[in-house]
Structure formats: C-alpha cells, structure tokens
C-alpha cells in the first residue's frame, strides 16, 4: 500500500504541476480579462469591492491550489489503485490509464457537463452555498456511476461476454449517469460575461482537468510498469 501511496503522491505532483503550468500560462490571462470586466461593471454600477488578495497573489495561489489538488487526488488515486489491483499482471500502463480515465469522468467530466465551469465574475455570491451542494451531488453521482460501470465491466468479463457488448454496457451506464445529473435543478445565475469569453474559459477548464488526470495517470503508469517489472522478475 505504501509503495502505491508514494507513487500516487509523485504522480499527483506531476499532474498538478502540469495543470498549474498550463493554467498559469493560458487560462490566467482569460481569467484576468473576466475579472477586469467584472470590476468595470461594478464600477459602472457605483460599487467598489475590496479584494482580500491582489490578482498576482491569486495567480500564485492558483498554482499552489492546483499542486495541492494534484497531490490530494494522487493520494486517493494511489489508495484506490492498490485496493482495486492487488497483483501485477504486466498491464500496469493500461490499468493506470483506465483508473485515471474513470477518475476524470466521474470527478471532473460528469460535474462539468451538468454545471460547466464559469469564469470569475459569473456566479452570484448569494447562491454559492446551494450551487456548491448541487455540484457536490454531481461529483457523488459521477463517482457512483463510474464505479458501477467498472463493476459491471468486470462482472461481464468474468462471464466471458465479448468486448463490444461490455463496452456498450459501460457506455450505457455512463450516459445514464450524465442523464441522472439533469434531474438536479439548473444553475439560475445570470451569465453577464460575453459568451465567447465564457466558452474559451470552459474549454481551458476542461483541458486543465484533463491534463491533471492525464499527467497523474501517465506518471503512475510509468512508475508502476517499473515496479511491476521488478516484482515479476524477482517472483
């Protein structure tokens, strides 16, 4: 378990730094534009808000937050990987990527499809508690959905069901999972930022999440390949 945990921490750091660097270089300029628009809008309305931190401190905070999230995801990923896979099979790379893909879909993509990320300036501070609860519910639904998909895939494989039907069954579970999240009420916040800015931000958000999970899973896969080769050689 500890070896898997160590690999998870290392992989999470790589994924977090990769996502942090990407976001810092490509997404921060978009967020700064969104913040400028928000400040201009507030000024036009005669409001003036005092920020707790300056934008440049928030830029540093962004990289720190992304690294911390990467490390935390890495820890949980390492623990789950060890619980799901006990003995090495020679397919360390495939296992690592599948678990990374499942985590991305369950924890990031399903919530994103229901409540797409919004740039700064969009989102009413008064509704944040309710929005946070609903978003958390989508994360739980996503996790249960991918876990169910994985269990069904494993069960069908053990029964010798052929690949095409197994993959269709998993796809069906995932579609049902996304559909279930649409039972939740819509986000009613007004989107005051320009649509092009909002969608540019959303694509960058999805890319950052994909990089985080991709970097994490790929690093974990490479490290496990090496460890498995050693374990198989000594066995």
């Amino acid at each position: 378990m500890l070896a898997s945990l160590r690999r998870g921490v290392l992989s999470g750091a790589v994924g977090g730094l990769l996502a942090g660097a990407f976001g810092f270089l490509l997404a921060e300029p978009v967020m700064d534009r969104a913040v400028d628009l928000e400040v201009a809008r507030q000024a036009a309305a005669g409001q003036h808000t005092v920020e707790t931190f300056t934008r440049s401190t928030q830029h540093v905070g962004f990289v720190v937050a992304t690294l911390l999230v990467g490390l935390a995801f890495g820890v949980l990923y390492g623990v789950v990987h060890r619980l799901v896979h006990r003995a090495p099979t020679g397919d360390a790379w495939g296992r690592a990527l599948r678990l990374g893909g499942a985590a991305f879909v369950g924890l990031s993509l399903v919530p994103f499809l229901r409540y797409p990320a919004n740039p700064p300036g969009v989102g009413d501070a008064a509704t944040i508690a309710g929005r946070s609860h609903l978003w958390t519910v989508t994360v739980v639904i996503g996790l249960v959905g991918v876990a169910l998909g994985a269990l069904i895939a494993r069960g069908l494989r053990e029964r010798g069901v052929r690949t095409s039907l197994r993959q269709l069954a998993v796809a069906g579970v995932l579609v049902a999972t996304v559909a279930l999240t649409f039972v939740l009420p819509d986000n009613t916040d007004e989107i005051s930022a320009p649509v092009s800015l909002v969608w540019e931000f959303r694509l960058l958000s999805l890319a950052t999440l994909a990089l985080l999970w991709g970097g994490l899973a790929a690093t974990f896969g490479l490290l496990s390949e090496r460890a498995d080769a050693r374990a198989l050689a000594s066995a």
């Binding site: 976001g23 931190f53 999230v69 935390a72 623990v79 919530p111 990320a117 700064p120």
Partner: protein, 75 residues
Amino acid sequence: MSQTQVAAGTRSVAKQGLTAAVTGIAAVLALVVLYAVFLDQGQLLSPVMGQVAATANYLHELAHDGRHLLGAPCH
C-alpha cells in the same frame, strides 16, 4: 512457536498497523485539502480566526482561480 517467530509476527502486525495509520492520515489530509480548495467558505479557519474567516474568506480567495478553472462553484 519460537521467540524469533513471535517477534517477527509482532513486527509484521506493527508494520501493518503503521501502514494503515499512514494511509488513513494521508487520505483524511487529502480530503481536507480538497474541501479547502473546492468548498470552503471560511469554515476551516473560523475556529482559529473567528468571524473574519468567513467575511474575508481567505482560503476561497487564495484558491479562487484554481476553484474556477477546476470547475467548482465560485463567484
């Protein structure tokens, strides 16, 4: 059972306990970090800092951009 076997058995139990403890602590820490970055509105700091933690919302404001870009609700 010889004394060395007993000693080895005790060591292995101790090692398992340590592994479980380290894993548990790491997992709890990971969840606290995720809460702090994605959901906190002053709750984590308010026992130490009082009401100002909720008004100034330090953790939220520091992690603000990360929260937006990683898709969590923000303002």
